[in-house]
Symmetry: C2
Subunit: 743 residues, 2 copies
């Protein structure tokens, strides 16, 4: 792994700088390029005071381009410990921990050491929590803190290097690897890696089976479709279980109940909670619902805009590739691709921006609700851009090509300049042959080519971009230095001991935020291709299997080198993506059935036109497929719920411990209680002694109630037995009568 080294800066000083973070927890990048000097200074002083007020130490250093870097750590170890303890008590109160943290802080912290993720999370919260909750209330880029460009933790490069080296060397991540990620980057990111890992492992089966199906069964095999649907269900249900299990193991189950308030939330009124007496900020749910309903027109408009773009390009492509027969065909065929690649990202970005505005307007109270709402909108957009092209080919082009293709003449205008005669541009009125390979080619494009392109855009391009920008910056700095002295160099004042470190920090300040949502989205959309369309090309899973091995490592490299160190948030699941997974698996049962039905034997009749499709046949196939799917889902869910798992075991163990402790605590008292009350072992003697006691008491009181008399007719066990024997002797059959005769 010698090549890995070159990914890091080749500078020896920097190499050393990578070894220490000088105990810095967070760096605040304070920028003042657009504010007046006075305002900048005022803001700076306020910021330092706010940070000091909550018990954070600060150091300031010069930054790049009109910026200072404020270094922050928790002032003292005791303060940190108190924060950790407070957070653990809160967890216990919300039912996240079974066992109450020991009341003596020392014991608790010794038993369960503070992880780096825990420290960084709490420090971040200390900086950003509202003042009334005990934080400094610093919200980057908004309100009074507009100058704060970002708050980021410093990478632990020693760990990162080791980590990426390790990842490159092993095929599967173990529980320990995930634990390591969790302790460094927090549970939310660890869940992404855990998911990716499970998915990767699960892909082995469809990859193997898909390869077999590809060799033996060919395309559109119903057997493949059935096995694939079963696998999808099983994977989704397995992950559901795995997810809660991991949450239990990592001690974060139910952590989503502790929700972080969004600073941007605007309340309409303040209501006193009738129970707790706390003030609650309220926003009318009716109003929110009415705004949420805007999602429907949003989804429709998005579908319309993106859909017509896709459909248009699709039509042009068909026209050029299958009707047009003039010169430049080889080049013209790329026209739609060019249109798509230029227009689509812009349009997507626009719609995403619009989605964000919509989500802002919906005014969620908590960060989680906000993110979930955003994810659902992003999923809709991605669903359209990712799957619509294939849907069009499969369910519009193939069945209806013969009706639609003649109408594509409207695109003649596009190729008119190139065509030599009318005939080259005219669709044959009859006998148009659909291209049976189009669907397969498209699926291959989306499942192989697009994946590779994506990876390049995600990891390689940013790397190159960063290198180029760096060079440009250096050249600029050089030129500035030549022109006007050292003032332009932010590192001029740096203490030699820190210089290399500060260069590194200034570089990290320029990096982007890491957003795990993007990575999740990519994987979920990928799963969709497998569940919806892999029946077209059974090798899909093979491609994904290879891709995901690289993806996991690429994502690690991205986190370690190309983005700022993410804030280690906690999470107890992959959140709303789980619903998306379930939805895609379910939809897959419909599309696979439809594809199998439509394309049996290539989907072509003897004349090259699609074979005559029966509407009821198609619907019946889908109907059965869907219900078999739902049935299997129920079965798998039930079966999995019965299987024991490490998480469940841990939960049981914890509960047992609590019980044991409670019992041992109250044992002395309970045992005494037992002795006094006549425990279970004492038996006869007690029932006699208490009866005698009662008898004595009633004698003291002078007269007895009918109830007392009833219970004292047989005063001791022996009496009861004797009386009962008497009854039996008299009433018992056969022998009884004989006994009587003898008397």
């Amino acid at each position: 792994m010698a090549g890995l080294k070159t990914l890091y800066e080749p500078n020896l000083d920097l190499e050393n700088a990578l070894h220490t973070n000088f105990d810095v927890d967070y760096v605040l990048d304070y920028r003042f390029a657009t504010t007046s000097k006075a305002a900048a200074e005022e803001g700076f002083v306020k910021l330092i005071q706010a940070l000091n007020d909550v018990g954070l130490s600060t150091e300031v250093r010069n930054g790049d381009n009109c910026a200072v870097l404020i270094f922050v750590k928790i002032a003292s170890d005791r303060h940190l410990r108190a924060e950790v303890y407070r957070s653990r008590v809160q967890d216990w109160l919300y039912g996240i921990r079974t066992a109450a943290p020991e009341k003596e802080m020392q014991t608790n912290l010794n038993q369960e050491p503070i992880t780096e993720a825990e420290r960084l999370r709490l420090t971040y919260l200390l900086i950003t929590k509202p003042r009334n909750e005990g934080g400094a209330g610093v919200t980057p880029k908004s309100g009074e803190w507009k100058g704060v460009e970002s708050i980021f933790a410093l990478h632990d490069h020693t760990f990162n290097k080791k980590w990426i080296k390790e990842l490159a060397g092993k095929t599967f991540l173990g529980a320990k690897d995930l634990e390591e990620i969790k302790d460094k980057f927090g549970e939310k990111i660890a869940f992404y890696f855990a998911f990716l890992q499970s998915y990767f492992l699960f892909l082995i089966f469809p990859a193997g089976f898909g390869f077999g199906a590809w060799v033996l069964l060919g395309k559109f095999s119903p057997w493949y479709a059935i096995v694939n649907a079963f696998w999808c269900v099983f994977f989704v249900e397995y992950w559901k279980k795995q997810e809660t299990d991991l949450a239990v193991q990592w001690g974060v189950r139910g952590v989503s109940k502790i929700q972080h308030k969004r600073p941007a939330f605007r309340h309409e009124s303040v209501v006193k909670d009738p129970i707790t007496g706390e003030d609650i900020k309220v926003y009318s749910p009716i109003k929110r619902l009415s705004r949420q309903l805007l999602q429907v027109p949003f989804a429709l408009v998005s579908a319309l805009v993106l859909g017509s773009l896709i459909a248009g390009c699709f039509a042009i492509e068909i026209f050029i590739s299958e009707i047009y027969d003039g010169p430049f065909k080889t080049y013209l065929v790329f026209t739609p691709t060019v249109i798509l690649t230029t227009v689509m990202p812009t349009l997507s970005a626009m719609l995403t921006g619009f989605a964000q505005k919509l989500t802002d307007v919906e005014n969620y109270e908590t960060q989680d609700a906000y993110e979930a709402a955003m994810v659902s909108k992003i999923f809709v957009l991605n669903f359209i851009t990712s799957y619509l092209p294939i849907f069009l080919t499969a369910f519009v082009y193939v069945p209806f090509a013969q009706i639609l293709v003649p109408h594509l003449d409207i695109f003649q205008i596009a190729v008119k300049p190139f065509a030599e005669n009318e005939k080259q541009m005219t669709a044959p009125k009859v006998g148009f042959q659909i291209n049976p390979d189009r669907l397969k080619k498209q699926v291959i494009y989306f499942t192989v080519t697009a994946q590779i392109v994506n990876f390049a855009l995600e990891v390689v391009v940013p790397y190159v971009k960063r290198k180029v920008f760096k060079k440009v910056k250096e050249v600029k700095a050089d030129r500035a230095a030549k022109r006007g002295g050292g003032a332009a160099d932010p590192g001029a004042d740096d203490h030699p001991e820190e210089a290399a470190f500060l260069v590194r920090v200034r570089n990290e300040a320029e990096l982007n935020h890491y957003d795990v949502t993007t990575d999740f989205r990519e994987m979920i959309i990928q799963f969709g291709y497998l569940s919806l369309f892999s029946v077209v090309w059974p090798l899909t899973a093979v491609s994904f299997f290879i891709n995901n091995w690289i993806e996991l490592r690429g994502d690690a490299v991205k986190i370690a080198l190309e983005t700022q160190r993410p804030v280690p948030w906690r999470a107890d699941s992959i959140g709303p993506w789980l619903d998306a997974l379930g939805f895609l698996a379910w939809l897959g049962s419909l599309t696979s059935a439809a594809l199998v039905y439509l394309f049996t034997g290539d989907g072509l009749g003897p004349d090259g036109a699609p074979w005559s499709i029966k509407g009821w046949g198609l619907l019946l196939t889908m109907f059965f497929s869907e219900h078999i799917f739902l049935g299997i889902q129920l079965g798998v869910r039930k079966a999995l719920s019965k299987i024991d798992s490490p998480g469940l075991q841990k939960e049981r163990a914890e509960r047992f411990l609590v019980r044991k402790q409670y019992i041992s605590e109250s044992m002395g008292q309970e045992a005494a209680e037992k002795a006094a009350a006549g425990g279970i072992e004492a038996g006869e003697k007690i029932s006699r002694s208490t009866l005698e006691e009662e008898a004595r008491q009633s004698t003291l009181k002078g007269h007895r109630t009918p109830e007392e008399r009833f219970w004292q007719r047989q005063r001791v066990q022996a009496e009861t037995i004797a009386v009962g024997r008497g009854f039996i002797a008299r009433a018992a059959p056969n022998e009884t009568k004989e006994t009587k005769k003898e008397l």
Copy 2:
């Protein structure tokens, strides 16, 4: 309500006997008619000893027909309190109670008095729990306790009388009424009444709307179908929420986690729990699964047997009523009814018995699992017997009558003796007209007639039966007394003060057990008619609304007078019936759509034959209906989850209390901690003081690490601010440069 009195025994002595139970908790009916005297005595002694050993007082009295009655109560108040306390601690350990019971028993019991249901439940458990769990291990009718015919609590007739009087007087049950039922008969039965009450309330809407639809829209209205489906979803989802809410209010949420072991469970091996070290009895889940799979052939065979009986009778009925045209037609038409009413109950009982055996073989570990498995089998049987006839009419008779009816000639044999000529028995080869009213008539039969018949069978018949048996017994006793002295009269030895009471107890010993499952089943099946078929006859809900008003009172009378007092079990839901409800609501979306599609305009074409049905049209209708249903379900679920409820409020309040208490307990210590560590308020001074402390320490140590040096470059807040200001002054745009020039 003077008439009510006559429901009770008219005897004045007995009337008085109704007022007291002599503090008896349970009565064990020990029978020895089939055992030898020695064995009977031995068993009796063992029983008394076992009961006394666990701290129960016993009294014995003579019973009817070779039986003794053993009266049981918990020996002392302290013992009872200890039991209650232990049970409440267990609840807390399982997370059913949020707040831990006070460690001082007295406080806890004073704060939360012991209800009658709690006392009776714990006493029952004391009698029946296995010995290793601290009970007497008495399992009626099995093993060494074969002589114990039943263990029953005595009715509180004063309450019962008041209760039935109250129920008769009011239309809707309030929260207090349900609470009362809960405190007397336990949560399980209270849940039944709560469900019945919610269902009754919810029926108001479809009753009103149905009546409107009946007047205005007629049969098979798609509007009715949509509204009805929506109502079904809403009801099911509402109940789901209501159910958890009630569980929280009643303090039993999660109580299903405390499961009672089935004494009949047979383990294969004993495994040591790796965590708790407890011995766990294990039965291979694979083996159980393989036995559970027998349910599939069971369901198929049941469907086949019951289905062919129903289909056969159905065919005969059609043949006679619509083809046969000879003499005795009016009487012969009842043949199938006679066959059904005689054969069906026998067959059902046989299959139910078989289902029970199957469930026994599945060898469940807990009572709950056993009951759930049984319920699912019973639901299958009832589904077939209740709905198949209508399914046959709607989906076989109407669409296919013209093809099938000519084949009904095989039934000629049945009517041959009566027919005068061949023609009377021959189906017309063409032009057979289906009877469009048949479906409606059938639905009316099941939703009106059958409900009334059911009620009669359930409440009236047992009452009459009991009266008759009583008379017979009295006559017999008289005769016996005349023949051979007083030995045959079990009441001969009774103490005059108790005589009336004992007569009452002997009567109660003869009563049946109350099984709430039967009542649930009835209501769920009723809901099915509404969801599946009410589009045929929109008045269905009106009939059910009236029926259920009576049903609720009838069930109360049944519990109070016609069965033994049920053991007040706890429950946190209506259990597996909820799944059945959901299933029926979902199936309703399919059947309603199909019915509407098939029967639009009476479902008849101009020639009296069904109009030409398009397969794809039918399937498309069902497909859309189902998915709209699923969509609505999702929406309703989401909307309801956002609504606050008394239960949720109670939960929040309890959690808040725990938090408050915890904080107040650890406040002293935490406050000290805070002061020492430099709390949030202390701010600047702390960060300075700790830094100085660190500086001093490092001076003491002799040399400082780079980290220490980094954090000590700016020793106090003022220094940080000054340095930062310097940076800003130099780098800030515009003004900065001006400042420089001035220098």
